[in-house]
């Protein structure tokens, strides 16, 4: 039987290192992806995700299951991401989200999700890459809080009450925030949206 996040965290609090390992396995990919889309740098996203796990570990003895574990986890991640963006520490690196994932995969056992071999038609591949680039840019252009809301809503599939706690706003304010974000995305992605709606 799969132990819940809260149970795992309580076990970590009791000194069980294996439970921490399970939490790490369960949330490392969602966290890295969330942070990657927030700070637009893979390297920094991994650094921040490691910091999130370290903070979780540090806080284990004071942990009380008063809220959902994911709310707590992504609140830490969001705060770290927003702080790092505000500090402009990562902007100097000029590493864009557009950097091909294959370049990051040189060191190891990971593989890019899509590689050129899967696209015998190079022209189609380029079209798809341009499409993804446009989507990434549209997300990047969102104000930071709107971006966090969209990422938590769309990719983490958290409910409104969780996201509002993470972003420390009311649910109605969150709905307004998300509406504005989707309006912006609708405009930014108008050519792609129009072709999708026609079909």
């Amino acid at each position: 039987m799969t132990r819940s996040d809260v149970q795992l965290m309580l076990d970590v609090k009791a000194g069980d290192q294996q439970s921490f390992e399970l939490l790490l396995q369960r949330y490392r990919t969602p966290l890295v992806n969330f942070l990657y889309r927030m700070v637009r740098s893979r390297e920094q996203a991994e650094d921040l995700a490691q910091e999130v796990f370290l903070r979780v570990y540090r806080a284990r003895e004071d942990y009380e299951p008063s809220a959902k574990f994911t709310t707590w986890l992504f609140r830490i991640a969001t705060n770290l991401a927003l702080n790092s963006l505000r500090d402009h520490r990562y902007q100097k690196l000029e590493i864009s989200m557009d950097a091909p994932i294959v370049a990051d995969a040189e060191d190891g056992d990971e593989r890019p999700m899509e590689v050129a071999d899967e696209h015998p038609d190079i022209e189609q591949h380029l079209v798809e890459e341009a499409r993804k680039k446009m989507i990434r840019h549209a997300i990047e252009k969102l104000p930071e809080k709107q971006r966090a809301a969209v990422l938590l809503h769309k990719y983490q599939e958290l409910d409104y009450s969780e996201i509002s706690k993470i972003l420390r706003c009311s649910e109605s304010a969150l709905k307004s925030l998300l509406f504005r974000a989707y309006e912006t995305l609708r405009v930014e992605l108008a050519p792609l949206v129009a072709s999708s709606v026609k079909h």
Binding site: Q25, D104, D159, Y182, L189, L192
Partner: protein, 159 residues
Amino acid sequence: MSCQKMETRILAYVDGRLKEDERAEVEKHLEGCAACRLRANEFRAVGDLLDELPMIEPSGAFNARVHALVAAEPQRRKSWFAWLTPSPRIAFVASLLLVATIWLGSRQTPPPAIAEQDLPVVENADYDVISSFAPLSDLSQAQSDDDDSDVPPQQPQQM
């Protein structure tokens, strides 16, 4: 429902997160509002576009780095007097009890003053018993007169 109210519900509608009654209300509005219908379709298309972005996998060294950070953390050791430190809850309850005790104590009214004339006169009540006590009966009257004073008679001082 107005188009303005739709703004807070349209995304939840597209995501299928509305309750049944709310969804029915939204759909009723969409039947008669082409602009909101178009917006709902376009929001759905935006959602589909966001799904196209690939997920990335953390690097192979990710877990090892986390392990190294955790291993570098100093272990918290409880000091020998840690048991003296009460938990916040116990401290809170103890504080409440202390305040309640002080408050209740301050509310107690002093006993009513007893008028002097109400007291029974007991001045000579047990005198007979004391006077018949054998050791006392041997004492001379003169000595008993001296005993009226606790201060011994002072000798005149030689200058």
